[in-house]
Amino acid sequence: MSVPTLRIRDLALGFRGWAGTTEVLHGISLHVRQGERVALVGESGSGKSVTARIVLGLLQENRSARVSGLVEFEGRDLSALAARERAGLRGTRMSMIFQDPTSSLNPVYTIETQFREVLRRGEPGIGREEARRRAEKALADVAISEPGRVLSSYSFQLSGGMNQRVMIAMALANEPSLLLADEPGTALDVTVQAQTLRLMRRLVEQHNTSVLFISHNLGVVREFADRVYVIYKGRIVEHGMADDLFADPRHPYTRALLRAVPRITGGGIPEIEDVSEDYFAPLVVHEGCEEPEEAK
């Protein structure tokens, strides 16, 4: 079997503070194969966003963070790479879409300037005309009908849904093999969110991009992911193919999470425990979802 695009083994994270170390991740393992869409689902504070930041290498620069464990990207141990090599991967081989599109774009530069900067990471010698042409095409791919107008705009002149599409176009512009999407629809209206997700799914299918999709919204995850990891307080509690996991949730926490999702068909208000001993039950892995062995 081929090497997974991303493989994480026993990843632990703690933050040193005045009152000792706060453990955030207690040794999680996960993998994303080529062209696969994998979701990491959990509540705030469960450690899902920090996982994405570690993969990008952003947290390692934080002096109070203590990271241990293995993160392999296309078979290469990321911690063994030189800082420059690692920085070279960002925005080219792996890219990230953040939750709030409006604050991830720089308000003092036009979209065109920022887009050109992204394209230059992949192809340093790219000319102004060529960059504009490619940016227009990328924006057209995310269903933006007037790419020219959007390129000469500033982020604050565009709607949230439009900004998020710009972010998606930028993230995919250099054809990365791994896309990290951290709650990409949460800041958007429900209708816009549905459109954005549909668009993103179509694009990653076309480009055969691997995606690590981070979300607290199980409905969204069911729409988007092939395989799901459920994370609770820094531990993976359940792992399975999306269809299996939603049809047959086995971990008490996953069950509580599923029951808590509001149903449009009504059905009243569920009785759910806020915190329960059961939520700390050991990991449940569905059939055929074991972590891959050592990479060759």
């Binding site: 509540e43 549905a194 997700l197 549909r198 729409e223 808590a260 509001p262 009243g268 208000i269």
Partner: protein, 262 residues
């Protein structure tokens, strides 16, 4: 019979420089004693503007707001403010971080002159227990509480003065799914068991369908649909409501995949 709250052809126009924004356009609504009415809409639909006019944060440009048949003045007296209380969206910013939970609740009781002065300390503990928190939380600071616990404190502060109407403006949008379910069931208990009247403002039509008696849908400042929650969900008459229902991504909807791109 008089309604607890009535909005009569209420409009709100904001002036931004030379531009006029009609945030709310000719909205009429009635809320009955002891019911939960959900106001549902996308961002920018005017739902918070409606809530703010009911609260008296700003007066309507046209139309009037009536409480038990009496028109509420543009400048509210303490008695009006006591009657209508608010739970805000973000519990992280709605509590004073420098004040203990007990002091915050005590302030609500003092301002509205609830009960005998000597009884108020005990009342703070009772309020906390009413919202499902231990009375001992009074000594804690907001920083020592989770988002869900803080939202419970915000609810306790809002019900401290025994308001006739409680407005909850997206009270769970900043919270996780499980915590959201717990907060909603607390609000539901206030309505069903204590007879509180609740105006629940949300963008999540599925959440509203779970416990509201009636749903009012706003779109671009206009009231496009109103009716019993079950009817609105089962057979939405308006195109905007249908879009909201169709745009809902949940566990009980058909997958979106395969549909044409926008």
């Amino acid at each position: 019979m008089t309604h607890l709250l009535s909005l009569r052809s209420v409009s709100k126009v904001f002036t931004l420089g030379s531009r006029e924004v009609r945030a709310v356009e000719n909205v009429s609504l009635d809320v009955e004693e002891g019911e939960c009415l959900a106001i549902v809409g996308e961002s920018g639909s005017g739902k918070s503007t409606v809530a703010n006019m009911v609260l008296g944060i700003y007066p309507p440009s046209e139309g009037e707001v009536l409480l038990r048949g009496e028109a509420l003045p543009a400048r509210r007296q303490l008695v009006h403010r006591r009657a209508i209380q608010l739970v805000q969206q973000n519990p992280m910013s709605s509590l004073n971080p420098r004040r203990s939970i007990g002091a915050s609740l005590r302030l609500a009781l003092d301002v509205h002159g609830v009960g005998e002065r000597g009884q108020r300390r005990r009342r703070v503990g009772e309020l906390l227990e009413e919202v499902g928190l231990p009375a001992g939380f009074a000594a804690r600071s907001p920083a020592a509480l989770s988002g869900g616990q803080r939202q419970r404190v915000a609810i306790a502060a809002a019900i401290a003065a025994r308001p006739a109407l409680l407005i909850a403006d997206e009270p769970t949008s900043a919270l996780d799914t499980i915590v959201q379910a717990r907060i909603v069931s607390l609000l539901d208990a206030l309505v069903r068991e204590d007879g509180m009247t609740l105006l629940f403002v949300t963008h999540d039509i599925a959440l509203a369908s779970g416990f509201a008696d009636r749903i009012a849908v706003l779109h671009e400042g206009r009231l496009v649909e109103e009716g019993p929650a079950a009817d609105v969900l089962a057979a939405p008459r308006d195109a905007c409501t249908r879009t909201l229902v169709a745009g809902h991504i949940g566990l009980d909807t058909l997958p979106l995949i395969g549909e044409a791109a926008p």
